[in-house]
C-alpha cells in the first residue's frame, strides 16, 4: 500500500527537472522533498498530482496504491494539492472554497447538500477557522489561508496529500506554529502526505522520512536521523547544516589535520592520501588545555548574541578559517579574545572519498 513513482524524467527545454526519479511513499507516511531551488522537487509533486506529465510515458509510472494513474488527468486522480501561494478561489467564501471539490462532482456521486455542509463544518473545526466560514480569502492572514487550502484539499478525501512549500510564504513565527500543527494533523488523520520544502529544519522536524533532491535526482532518502547523522554525500552534509572543511591527510586509517590525529570511521581501510574532512561547527571543542589530539588556532572574531555563541577561528598551520558553535556557559568559561591562541578538538569527522565538492 503506497504511492509510488518510477523512472520519471521531465525536461523543460534544455533544463532537466527530473532525471529518472523513483520514489515510494508508504501509506500514512509524511515524506518531505527537500532540495535547493531548481532541484526538481516541485516538478515531482506536480507530476504526482497530474499537473505535469513525464517525458518518457513508456517507462515512467505513477502508482496510487497499485493503480497506474500515469495517463489519468489531474481531475480524476483524487490527489489533494496545496499550492505555494494557496490558489484559493478569490471570489468564493472560505466555506465555498472548501466545498468546491464536493460540489463539482457529477450528480451521481455528489453528496447531498446537508452532507456537504456537515463535512465542511467538520473541516473548518479541524483547521480551527469556524468563525471565518463566511470570509473571503483576501480577508484572511497567510497562515489562515494556508489552513483553508489544506482543508480544501482534504475535503475530497484524497488518496495522497501533496503540499508545495506549504509554509514558504509565511513569516518565521507562523511557519513554526503551522508546521507543528501540520504534524499533529497528520498524526490525527494519517493521510499519505508528500511536502516540498527548501528549509532543512522544517523537513527534519515534521517528516517521517526525507528525500533530498539535487539536479533532478534523489540524492538520499531516509529518516531525519539517518540523513542527518549519515549523510550519503558532501551535498547532503552541506545542505543539512553548516559545515567546516579541514584539509589534511589520511594516514593509517585516521585523519591527520594540522599535526593532530583524529578518529574518522569513514577512512578505515582507505589508502593514505590527501583528504578533506567535514566537521559541523557544534562538533568542535575549543579549550585552553588540550585533553587529547588537538590543533592550534587563533581567535579571529566572537559573537555571543542569540542562544548559542559563535566563534571564527584560523588554523595556525594552514591559515584556513573555520566556524565554531558553543554553548553560552562554555563561551563564558573560555572568554576568548580576538588574537588569542586556543586548542581545537574535532568530533564526528566525516570524509567523502575523492569527491569532496559540495
Amino acid at each position: 500500500m503506497s504511492v509510488e513513482v518510477k523512472n520519471i524524467t521531465k525536461k523543460f527545454g534544455s533544463f532537466t527537472a527530473l532525471d529518472n526519479v523513483s520514489l515510494k511513499v508508504e501509506s500514512g507516511e509524511l515524506v518531505a522533498l527537500l532540495g535547493p531551488s531548481g532541484s526538481g522537487k516541485t516538478t515531482l509533486l506536480r507530476t504526482i498530482a497530474g499537473l505535469e506529465f513525464p517525458d518518457n510515458p513508456g517507462e515512467a509510472q505513477v502508482l496510487f496504491y497499485g493503480e497506474d494513474v500515469t495517463q489519468i488527468p489531474a481531475s480524476e486522480r483524487k490527489a489533494g494539492f496545496a499550492f505555494q501561494h494557496y490558489a484559493l478561489f478569490r471570489h468564493m467564501s472560505v466555506f465555498e472554497n472548501i466545498a468546491f471539490g464536493l460540489r463539482v462532482r457529477p450528480r451521481s456521486t455528489r453528496p447531498p447538500e446537508a452532507d456537504i455542509r456537515a463535512r465542511v463544518d467538520k473541516l473548518l473545526k479541524l483547521i480551527q477557522l469556524e468563525p471565518m466560514a463566511k470570509r473571503f480569502p483576501s480577508q484572511l492572514s497567510g497562515g489562515q489561508r494556508q489552513r483553508v487550502a489544506l482543508a480544501r484539499a482534504l475535503a475530497v478525501e484524497p488518496k495522497v496529500l501533496l503540499l508545495d512549500e506549504p509554509f514558504g510564504a509565511l513569516d518565521a513565527k507562523v511557519r513554526k506554529e503551522l508546521r507543528r500543527w501540520l504534524r499533529q494533523l497528520h498524526d490525527e488523520i494519517h493521510v499519505t502526505t508528500l511536502f516540498v520544502t527548501h528549509d532543512q529544519e522544517e523537513a527534519l522536524e515534521v517528516s517521517d522520512r526525507v528525500a533530498i533532491l539535487r539536479a533532478g535526482k534523489i540524492e538520499q532518502i531516509g529518516t531525519p536521523e539517518e540523513i542527518y547523522d549519515k549523510p550519503a554525500s558532501p551535498f547532503v552534509y552541506d545542505f543539512l547544516g553548516n559545515v567546516n572543511l579541514f584539509s589534511g591527510r589520511v594516514k593509517d586509517g585516521a585523519m591527520v589535520i594540522g599535526g593532530a590525529e583524529f578518529a574518522a570511521p569513514d577512512v578505515a581501510g582507505e589508502p593514505d592520501s590527501e583528504a578533506v574532512a567535514f566537521v559541523r561547527p557544534h562538533d568542535i571543542r575549543v579549550t585552553r588545555q588540550p585533553g587529547g589530539p588537538a590543533l592550534t588556532a587563533q581567535v579571529i572574531r566572537s559573537n555571543a548574541a542569540g542562544p548559542v555563541a559563535n566563534l571564527e577561528l584560523k588554523r595556525l598551520d594552514s591559515g584556513e578559517l573555520f566556524a565554531v558553535q558553543l554553548t553560552k556557559e562554555l563561551f563564558q568559561e573560555l572568554s576568548p579574545k580576538p588574537g588569542e591562541h586556543v586548542f581545537v578538538e574535532l568530533k564526528n569527522v566525516r570524509i567523502f572519498g575523492d569527491d569532496y565538492s559540495i
Binding site: A74, R77, L88, G101, V156
Partner: protein, 304 residues
C-alpha cells in the same frame, strides 16, 4: 517614531514633505492648465451638444428622434452592436484564455493580429471589406451570373438577393472588425496576472474543464469582461469611418446613428443633428459612469 515626536508635525507640514516638493504656485498652475484645457475641449462641447439639441424645444427634439429614418438608424446601430459585442465577447474570452493560460507557437502573431484593428484606420478596414465582399471583389466573382465559380452558390445568393456591401451584413462586419481588440485586450493582462494556479487547483479538486471555466475563470474575470464589453459597445455604436465606407448611406436602410447625424448635418438641420448626437453623448456619459464603477469593482476583486 515616538508619539511625542509626531505631535511636533502638524498634518499640514506632513503633506508638504510627502509631495514632490513643488511650490504651491506650480501645482496650482498645473491643475489650472489641465482644468481649462478639459473645460474648453471636452466639457463645453458636451454642454453645447445638449443646448443645441434642445434649441427648438423639447417637442422638436422628440419629433426628430421619432422620424422614421432616425428610428431606422437607431435600430440598425442597436443591431450592429447587438451582434458584434457578443461575438467579440466570446472571441475575446477565447483569445485571452489561449494567450494567458497556454504556451503555443504563434502566440505573438495572434497578439499582433488582435491589435491590428487598433493600428489600421477604420476607413481602410471598410475599404478592405468592399474589396473582399463587394460586387467587384472576391465574393462578386461567385455572384457574377455570367461566369460563376460555384453556380449553386451564385444562384442561392442571387435568389435571396443576398448582399453584404451597402447592406446590413457589411455594417455588422465592419463593426465587428473595429471592435475586435476591446474585450481581448482588457482580459489578457488580467488573466496573465491571475496566473493558472486557481484553474490548476480546480482541476486537481476534480472539476472538469467546463466547470473550471464557469466556476473559477469566469467569476475571476467578470469585472474585466464587463469593462471590455462596455468599451466595445461604446465603440460599436459610435463607429463612423469603417461603417461609412460599407454602408452606402441609404437613409432609412443602411444609416447608423453616426451616419444619420452626418446626413442631418449635411441637410443644414443642425438642431436635428444635435438631437440625435445627444443620444451618443448620453451613451458616452453612461459608459463613463459604468466604467468608473466597474473599475472600482475590478480593483476591489483583484486587490489581493
Amino acid at each position: 517614531m515616538t508619539p511625542a515626536a509626531t505631535t511636533f508635525h502638524t498634518p499640514h507640514l506632513v503633506v508638504h514633505r510627502r509631495t514632490t516638493g513643488e511650490p504651491p504656485l506650480v501645482r496650482h498652475a498645473l491643475i489650472g492648465v489641465a482644468l481649462v484645457f478639459l473645460s474648453l475641449f471636452l466639457f463645453l462641447p458636451l454642454v453645447f451638444v445638449f443646448t443645441q439639441a434642445f434649441a427648438k424645444g423639447i417637442g422638436y427634439y422628440f419629433e426628430t428622434l421619432r422620424d422614421p429614418n432616425a428610428w431606422s438608424a437607431i435600430k440598425l446601430t442597436l443591431l450592429a452592436a447587438g451582434i458584434s459585442v457578443p461575438l467579440n465577447c466570446v472571441f475575446g474570452v477565447c483569445a485571452a484564455w489561449a494567450i494567458a493560460k497556454f504556451d503555443f507557437p504563434g502566440k505573438n502573431v495572434l497578439l499582433t493580429l488582435i491589435d491590428l484593428p487598433f493600428s489600421v484606420s477604420p476607413v481602410i478596414a471598410g475599404l478592405i471589406y468592399v474589396l473582399v465582399f463587394g460586387a467587384q471583389g472576391w465574393l462578386g466573382l461567385y455572384m457574377n451570373a455570367d461566369n460563376p465559380h460555384l453556380p449553386w452558390l451564385a444562384n442561392w445568393l442571387n435568389d435571396h438577393n443576398f448582399k453584404i456591401i451597402f447592406a446590413v451584413p457589411g455594417i455588422v462586419l465592419a463593426t465587428v472588425f473595429v471592435t475586435v481588440p476591446f474585450v481581448a485586450r482588457e482580459l489578457i493582462p488580467l488573466m496573465q496576472a491571475q496566473g493558472r494556479s486557481e484553474e490548476e487547483a480546480a482541476r486537481v479538486l476534480g472539476a472538469s474543464g467546463w466547470q473550471t471555466f464557469w466556476r473559477v475563470t469566469l467569476p475571476n474575470i467578470k469585472w474585466g469582461l464587463i469593462y471590455g464589453v462596455i468599451l466595445c459597445n461604446a465603440r460599436a455604436m459610435g463607429e463612423f469611418g469603417a461603417v461609412s465606407v460599407v454602408s452606402g448611406k441609404i437613409r432609412g436602410q443602411t444609416n447608423t446613428i453616426p451616419l444619420h447625424i452626418e446626413a442631418l448635418y449635411d441637410d443644414y438641420n443642425f438642431t436635428g443633428a444635435f438631437a440625435v448626437a445627444s443620444l451618443l453623448a448620453f451613451l458616452a456619459l453612461i459608459t463613463l459612469g459604468l466604467k468608473t464603477w466597474v473599475e472600482y469593482k475590478n480593483a476591489v476583486q483583484n486587490k489581493d
